[in-house]
Symmetry: C2
Subunit: 196 residues, 2 copies
Amino acid sequence: MRILLVGATGTLGTAVHQELVARKHDVVTVARTGGDLQCDVTDPEQVAGLYRTVGQVDAVASAAGSAPYRPISELTVADYQAAVTGKVLSQVALVKEGLTHVTESFTLITGVLAREPIVTGAAASLANGAVEAFVRAAAIEIAPQRINAVSPTVFTESLDVYGDFFPGMKPVPVAEVVRAYVRSIEGRQTGQVYVP
Amino acid sequence: MRILLVGATGTLGTAVHQELVARKHDVVTVARTGGDLQCDVTDPEQVAGLYRTVGQVDAVASAAGSAPYRPISELTVADYQAAVTGKVLSQVALVKEGLTHVTESFTLITGVLAREPIVTGAAASLANGAVEAFVRAAAIEIAPQRINAVSPTVFTESLDVYGDFFPGMKPVPVAEVVRAYVRSIEGRQTGQVYVP
C-alpha cells in the first residue's frame, strides 16, 4: 500500500516507519521538520496542501500529537486549547481533508490517559478522550473508508524520561504499539480503539 | 447546599432546578439569557466574573453545552472547534475558575455520543469524549473537591424533535437524568461518568 505517515520522525513514528517498510509498503513520511514532506498538521491549510502534493494514498497513519502537562491548578484554558489544537483538530483535519484522497484507512494516535489519568495530564486526557470518541463517530459515516485509534500507555523505551509520571502503570514496548498500527492498516476493522 | 446551576433554563436545567429546590437546596441559576445571573460560559472572562459575583458555593452543576450537528463530509474544522468551545472549554473553565470558589463538587454534562455514535454527531462525540476524559483526570487532582459527569442519551421528552437521529436507541426520561445530578451532588463519588 501507499501510506502517508505523519509524525514519522518521533520515537513511535520511526518504529512504525521501519515496520511498514519491512512489510513492503510504500511510505511517504511527514514531519514538522525532516521526513519526505514537511507539514505543520495543526494548520488545516497545510494539511490540505499536503494532500494536494501527495495525491492519492491507501492509508494515513498518524503518530503526531502534543499536549501540555501541568498540575491542574496551573493548566489554563489556553493550555487545554493547545492540547485540542495539537492533538485533536490536527488529526481531525487529516481525516477531513483526507476523505477525498485516502482509499482505505486512517489510523490516529491517542493514549491511555483517555481512560486512566495521571497527575499533570488533564489536558492530555481531554485530548485523548476527544480523539477516541471522534474515531468511533467517524467510522459509521466514512465507510467503506475505515478509521481506528491506537491508544498506548507509556513506552518501555521512554520509562527513563516519563516513568515517574506513570507510577505502577505497566509500560508497553514500542514494537507492540507498532503492531496495532499494522492491525489497523492491514486489517478490516473500523471504529476501534486498539490498546496495545 | 448553595448550588450554582449553569444552563438552568433548558429542558434539562429546568428539571434539575426544580428537583434541587424541592430538595431544599439554595440554587443560583445561570443562563445566557434569563436565570438569576447571565453568563456566556464559553468566555472564560465571564466565567471568572460569574464566580466573583457569586462568591462561595458548595456545588456547581452544568447542564449547558452546544455542538453543531452535520454529516461528517460537511463538518469543518471550525465546526469541531465550535463543539470544543461550546461544550468542552466552557465546562473546563467552570472547573478551572471554580477551584477557589467551590467547596464540594462539580457536575458536568456530556452525552451518549461519547460512546455510541450517531450520523451527523461526530463533533458532539468528540466534545463528549473530551469532557468525560477530563472529568476522570480532574478528579485525581482536585480532591477533596469532587467532579463527575452525567452522560444521558436522548430524552424521552425530546423524542419528537430528535428521535430520528437516534434510531432504535432507548431514550431516557429527564427525571432519570436529574437523579444522576442529585447522585453526583449529594453523593461522595468522584471521577464518575453517570449514565442514567
